[in-house]
């Protein structure tokens, strides 16, 4: 052994070390991005007396009540959650000839100009004993109803669903206007009444 070379460092265990780290990160990682129903709470009432003043005609309100037994009452009718969406959709779309359906009011809408817009409001009231699961189900159906009505209208007017319009609204000004127009025709008005504790559950 006259010629003595510097021996290479054995890199065979590098893979093992890397694997060890890899497994650590695999275990600790949480890939779940939080998903959920985004809602906006109404700002606090400035004046308690003001609450009494707001007076809306009965025909403009779609009342949804949920009691402590998770039963649903929509516009005075006892229904199942699965039936709720169709009923709400019908209400949001409205019918100018039907005196039971919400009134119309002329409003400025992009692209369409001034057109009559339904004065619909969906009012949701739950009991303190309602389970959270039921509450989310009802909220979900209400949001779904609005979304579907918007989609149908957008598809009819512009050949694209509202979801697509929103997705593409970054790319062009016209599409953004189209999306805004649909949103203005069917504004999402979900009002939550002050809760009551009738069911006695706490």
């Amino acid at each position: 052994m006259a010629k003595r070379e510097i021996s290479e460092i054995n890199a065979g265990s590098m893979a093992d070390i890397a694997f060890l780290l890899l497994i650590f990160f695999l275990v600790t990682t949480t890939m779940d991005t939080d998903t959920g129903l985004l809602r906006r709470l109404p700002p606090p009432p400035e004046d308690i007396n003001e609450l009494e003043k707001i007076d809306i005609k009965q025909r403009n309100i779609f009342e949804v009540l949920v009691n402590a037994n998770d039963q649903l009452l929509a516009k005075g009718e006892y229904i199942q959650v699965t039936e709720l969406k169709e009923k709400v959709k019908e209400f949001i779309k409205g019918d100018p000839s039907n005196p039971e359906m919400p009134e119309y009011k002329d409003e400025e809408v992009p692209i369409f100009g001034t057109i009559p817009v339904s004065k619909q409001i969906v009012s949701l009231q739950n009991d303190n004993g309602t389970t959270y699961q039921m509450y989310i189900k009802v909220q979900n159906e209400l949001i779904a109803a609005y979304r579907e009505v918007r989609n149908e209208r957008a598809l009819k007017e512009f050949g694209k669903s509202y979801d697509e319009l929103v997705k593409l609204s970054e790319t062009s000004e016209t599409i953004k206007n189209q999306a805004d127009a649909i949103k203005a025709i069917y504004p999402q008005r979900i009002s939550e009444a002050e809760p009551k504790a009738i069911g006695g559950a706490k």
Binding site: T33, D34, L37, L41, P43, V81, I136, A201, K202
Partner: protein, 158 residues
């Protein structure tokens, strides 16, 4: 002839594993980048309900969490089974929400303070009473943008 024999005795050369560390490192970096460590230890049991209309939370840094549910099994002896609110790492009452909201707002830049989303992670079996109390409290402190955390599903069932 002897040439062939020589070759045979060598056999198949071993597959080179020199690139293995590279591959593993690539995976490692991927997970290192995507990972987010859990910041809080849950003291309440939270199984979020399922919904079809869920949206993804866009900016994680602008989300603050409020957990509501019954205490986990190991804490039920001390705290009972009534649903509780958890803020950060501790149990709280609805009176603590005000301070919590202010602290969370302080953590963010001034420009972003009004863009914070308050994600309510509520157990599906919780009664609405406590949730409503929290909601009313949030209204009072002007934390209005909330998110009812729920999992994506294709169809809701009764």
């Amino acid at each position: 002839m002897s040439k062939f024999r020589k070759n045979n005795s060598k056999g198949q050369p071993a597959i080179s594993t020199a690139a293995l560390p590279d591959i593993v490192f690539m995976l490692l970096f991927f997970f290192m980048v995507t990972t987010t460590m859990r910041e809080t230890t849950l003291k309440v049991k939270v199984v979020t309900p399922k919904a079809t209309e869920v949206e993804k939370m866009e900016k994680k840094s602008l989300v603050s969490y409020i957990y509501i549910g019954e205490p986990i099994k190991s804490l039920q002896g001390a705290f009972g089974t009534a649903p509780r609110i958890q803020l950060n790492d501790v149990f709280a009452t609805k009176e603590d929400l005000f301070q919590f909201v202010e602290m969370e707002k302080d953590k963010r830049d001034e420009a972003e303070r009004n863009m914070i989303t308050w994600s309510l992670k509520v157990d599906q079996d919780t009664k609405m009473g406590i949730v409503t109390e929290v909601k009313q409290e949030m209204r009072k402190v002007n934390a209005l943008k909330i998110n009812y955390s729920s999992k994506k599903t294709d169809r809701i069932v009764d």
